[in-house]
């Protein structure tokens, strides 16, 4: 079901810059209980910031998460944390290892979603990492193959989706950045997604994908049972638009207009130009506007500057359409 939102709704993808006190506390190895008040403060502050900037759909900023896969792995049974692996440049992450049957123990993000939603009248997106990415970005020492690992994860993560739904979440984003990694496995990713969303017809599901080779999975990816694809568009010089020219994009799109890997804050005109490119190919009713990916790698000043430019550009484009 489509949520009641203005034309060209604006949102952040998920993560926001962690405040220095949280980074410091994490460095010192504080436990979850001790960290919680700091994380709640950060959420309160950023809800205010997002409202002041004028975003339409808000996020909790994921201050309580480290890595998007490790966080869920730590909260599910069946994983243990592995050593450090490099993802790019000087960035490393601890890659989890599936060592026994995966089991959902208790709600993972539900209390954070409820807390965040209690702070604002605007809708808050619930966000979780999808089963395909959890499988692909973990080592697997237990399941005989990738398919069995992926489907086992889908069955367990579905319980988190269900609990978010029960708590009241009606916009749920499932992050699947790995989905384009093996085009031949798209049917598996689809099967896993079907398990995740089954029967929840009044939820608006978004699937976030970034930094992938979309040319290999487009247009087949449109068969995924979700309503909105959140795609990174500015990082690749909007090359994806060529694909949309060739085959119409039939779902809604959260159109990434902010390069999250650059320190440079985009100007309003630059963002307007990117939105305009989307409008050349897509119906305005299909388009949401957001950054390419989470903003956790940017400074607070940069993140605010980028979101402000994005919202202002959207306002101007919206006015010109309406």
């Amino acid at each position: 079901m489509k949520p009641d939102l203005p034309l060209l709704p604006t949102t952040a993808v998920g993560s926001l810059p962690k405040p220095p006190e949280i980074l410091e506390a994490r460095r010192k190895g504080w436990g979850a209980k001790k960290l919680e008040p700091l994380e709640k403060n950060a959420i309160r502050r950023w809800i205010k910031i997002q409202e002041e900037i004028g975003l339409d759909v808000l996020v909790d900023g994921e201050f309580y998460r480290g890595d998007m896969v490790a966080y869920f792995a730590q909260n599910l049974e069946g994983f243990r944390m592995g050593g450090l692996v490099r993802s790019y440049g000087n960035r490393y992450y601890r890659k989890p290892i599936i060592v026994k049957e995966v089991k959902y123990r208790k709600p993972i993000t539900v209390k954070w979603w409820k807390f965040t939603q209690s702070l604002t009248k605007k809708p808050v997106k619930a966000i979780l990492t999808g089963p395909y990415t959890m499988m692909d970005w973990s080592f697997n020492e237990y399941y005989p193959d990738r398919e069995q690992a992926c489907l086992a994860l889908a069955k367990e993560l579905r319980k988190e989706v269900r609990n978010l739904y029960k708590a009241g979440a009606r916009i749920i984003q499932i992050d699947e950045p790995a989905i384009s990694a093996r085009p031949q496995e798209l049917p598996l990713a689809k099967k896993a997604m079907e398990i995740m969303v089954h029967g929840l017809d009044d939820v608006y599901f978004i699937c976030h994908i970034c930094y992938g080779a979309f040319e290999y999975i487009y247009p087949q990816m449109l068969e995924l049972p979700i309503q909105n694809f959140d795609l990174e568009m500015s990082n690749s010089e909007l090359d994806l638009m060529e694909l949309f020219h060739r085959h119409p994009f039939t779902k809604d799109i959260s159109f990434g207009v902010i390069d999250v890997h650059s320190h440079i804050i985009e100007t309003v005109d630059q963002v307007k130009e990117r939105i305009q490119k989307a409008l050349n190919v897509l119906n305005p009713r299909q388009i949401w506007v957001d950054p390419d990916c989470g903003l956790k790698t940017r400074t607070e000043e940069e993140a605010i500057g980028k979101l402000k430019a994005m919202v202002e550009a959207t306002r101007q484009v919206r006015a010109s359409i309406e």
């Binding site: 993802s87 000087n90 692909d136 697997n140 990082n235 690749s236 010089e237």
Partner: protein, 328 residues
């Protein structure tokens, strides 16, 4: 027939132990302008020595410099080329590793080959033979954006010229080992003729070099027989994408000077059972018409934590030793 243990390419730059994090610390300081290029290079040199020591300690017969100086396999060879600039990040095949994508706007001009100096440094230090890895022209071309307005054949030829110069620079050093990595051809088998021309061009620069072509991140079955006709000294295969490749190779054989058997999964921490790998080797070695068999991981090891990478190499070496006694 000789059976040797080898690394396939990369090796993790840091370990989880704080003592093995100096590369990461130095990189951060270098990025912040607190370390000069020269100071950072000195740390890179130290880490190259460390990872060569680890590979030797694991018992390998042939090592690499671990590709310690590479940020990624694509920008390492393209970032300083004329006619090219770097674009955004893109996932490297089906890994959770990213590379900066080159955008080519005109014919490529190489200012200074990068692989030769790396090779000289590693060779001088290592007590066992070193293999220099170079990303192949087809993979470089496939993963670059063509904004030069030329067809793919011309585009590939430009990259072939660049790689040929890298190879030529090393060929002056005499009898050495160079590995050309071409993972991209496995997902574009229809480009075989173009690919072959490109490899032939590179091999024409070889002099006394031993050139090995390594493929991974895909199923090599459709190209197995064609590979035998390439003018390289050896071909390396990744068996983790299709174990049927074992059956095909065992039934049809494979003839070449050398072959690299990527039977140890370089992407998963699960340790292979020695008995299983020895069984596969027993089946394969009977039908291989080759002088040298390298047992190696299926791909570079930077996709594993350093501790696991070491264990995998140790396993490679142990299996090799056992196979020499029991099979050869």
């Amino acid at each position: 027939m000789k059976l040797l243990s080898a690394n396939t390419g990369s090796y993790p730059k840091i370990g989880s132990d704080p003592k093995k994090q100096k590369f990461r610390v130095a990189y951060a300081k270098w990025e912040a302008g607190e370390l000069s290029d020269e100071q950072f290079k000195k740390i890179q040199d130290e880490v190259v020595k460390e990872v060569i020591d680890e590979q030797i300690q694991a018992g390998l017969d042939m090592v690499t410099d671990g590709q310690i100086r590479w940020i990624d396999p694509i920008s390492h060879f393209t970032k300083n080329l004329e006619g090219c600039r770097m674009d955004g990040l893109l996932r490297y095949f089906d890994t959770n590793f990213y590379f900066r994508q080159p955008v080519v706007t005109s014919r490529l001009v190489i200012k200074h080959p990068v692989a030769c100096d790396e090779f000289v440094f590693a060779k001088r230090y290592s007590s066992v033979p070193v293999k220099q890895v170079i990303t192949g022209p087809y993979t470089l071309a496939r993963l670059s954006i063509n904004r030069a307005g030329v067809d793919f054949r011309t585009f590939l030829r430009w990259f072939t010229e660049v790689v040929a110069q890298e190879v030529h620079a090393i060929s002056r050093l005499g009898r050495c080992f160079v590995q050309i990595d071409e993972p991209a051809i496995l997902s574009h088998p229809k480009d075989w003729e173009l690919f072959k021309e490109s490899i032939e061009e590179i091999c024409s620069e070889r002099r006394r070099l031993k050139i090995y072509l390594y493929t991974y991140f895909g199923d090599a079955m459709p190209l197995l027989n064609k590979m035998e006709n390439l003018p390289v000294n050896g071909v390396g295969f990744d068996f983790t994408y299709s174990w049927k490749l074992v059956q095909k190779m065992a039934e049809e054989g494979f003839a070449m000077e050398a072959v690299g058997l990527g039977l140890i999964d370089g992407r998963n921490t699960r340790m292979e059972r020695k008995r299983k790998i020895l069984g596969i080797l027993r089946r394969l070695l009977r039908n291989l018409n080759v002088e040298i068999v390298y047992l190696n991981p299926s791909c570079g090891l930077e996709f594993l934590p350093r501790e696991n990478a070491f264990k995998k190499l140790k396993l490679v070496s142990e299996i090799c030793k056992e196979a020499r006694q029991k099979i050869l």
